[in-house]
Amino acid sequence: MSDSKMISVTVNGETTTAAVPVRQNLVDFLRNTMGLTGSHVGCEHGVCGACTLEVDGAMVRGCLMLAVQADGTQVTTIEGYGDRAAALRDAFTARNALQCGYCTPGMLASAVEYIEGGGAADRAAIREHLSGNYCRCTGYQSIVDAVCDVIDGASA
């Protein structure tokens, strides 16, 4: 039997109390218990970025954090980004910056952090920031285009 603990966590603005097995990672909790399937589990060792989400305002790897560690935190998944990701969602669609969509929630989370951090429409800097997120489909070019579009649009 897995050891479990009670946690109270605010996910996308709503506070939930749940018993979680201590070995369960945060993404599995969000997917299996909360039904929030936007964050994907790809590699489970921190390399692919498909599980990227926000905890207390900072971008983290959901696969490298235990659900029990999220006790008392504010978690934002791609389902909860709302307006913060609206321009990016449009730009990703317009630029064909997603195909299978597996990496997209993590890409959007990383791109939101870059843009909200005041990042410039500088392709090298964007690539550096997104370097922790793998995409198997797009070749990255169109993703960088989409991020540039949003920054250029916002500063126009």
Partner: protein
């Protein structure tokens, strides 16, 4: 893969954490940022019986200046080092290396103490601490002691840490008027380097400290190279002095490639001094 089952505690005081870690029967491991431990557990390369989460120990967090020396608590995250003026003023070598350590999401949780305790041969921080002549403070229920970085990194994932001990702080001596340089070669920005070097020297180009990472089983100083540079030798002579280092290849590069890359990063770092 998923981690094997374990027990989990988040103690509220350092004393409680040390007590949990002192009991060998629990087979407890400290959990800092989890950015290395969680992948190892997910791969079942590690299966501790208990995780002692250090995130509630505020005493292990923070960056302060004491008599010109920079003191960094073990649980201080990379992202906090990046945002710190104290770090960029007093340890510019660290500030220079930070963007090369992993990716932003990993730096948001990874800690300096976790990196030092793990002693990954490819990690930047152990080499930076060697180049900076830093002191690593560890504590157990018996008390605390200081190790010079020089005596701390013993082999692959092997340090002077004993069971039941925690790294509590890193102290970097006053920078004086020394110069610093850092260079690494990686396949993709943020990935572990194929070879890297951190160096420091007095402004008059004497008293060099040349510390390598990702070329051997641990971070290490190239003392023969330091001697050549201290004597005012040419770059090529310094590169020739790499000969005696215990190069060891990994999945990315052979011993011979590591040796070749070591010369390249040295040349580029010296160019940036």
């Amino acid at each position: 893969m998923k981690a094997a089952d374990f027990l989990y505690e988040r103690p509220a005081s350092l004393g409680d954490a040390l007590a949990l870690l002192a009991d060998a029967d629990r087979d407890a491991a400290p959990l800092a940022g989890g950015q290395s431990l969680m992948p190892m557990m997910n791969f079942r390369l590690a299966a501790p019986g208990m995780l002692v989460d250090l995130s509630g120990l505020d005493a292990l967090r923070g960056i302060t200046l004491e008599d010109g020396a920079l003191r960094i608590g073990a649980m201080t995250r990379y992202v906090e080092l990046t945002g710190s003026d104290l770090v960029s003023d007093h340890a510019p070598l660290i500030a220079q290396a930070l963007p090369h350590i992993a990716h932003a999401a990993v730096r948001n949780r990874g800690t300096i103490g976790g990196s030092v305790a793990l002693a990954d041969p490819a990690a930047e921080m152990p080499a930076l601490l060697l180049a900076l002549d830093a002191v690593i403070t560890v504590q157990s229920e018996e008390g605390s002691k200081d190790h010079a970085a020089n005596d701390f990194f013993l082999g692959m994932y092997e340090t002077a840490l004993e069971p039941g001990e925690l790294v509590t702080a890193i102290t970097i001596p006053p920078r004086g008027d020394r110069r610093f340089a850092f260079y690494e070669l990686a396949r993709r920005h943020g990935d572990y380097a194929m070879a890297g070097v951190a160096l420091s020297c007095a402004t008059d180009r004497t008293d060099h400290r040349v510390a390598y990472f990702s070329i051997a089983d641990r971070a290490l100083r190239a003392t023969a190279v330091e001697a050549v540079l201290d004597a005012g030798g040419a770059v090529d002579d310094a590169i020739a002095a790499l000969e005696g280092l215990p190069f060891s290849g990994d999945l990315n590069a052979s011993d011979a490639t590591k040796k070749h890359l070591s010369g390249i990063v040295l040349k580029r770092a010296l160019g940036g001094l």
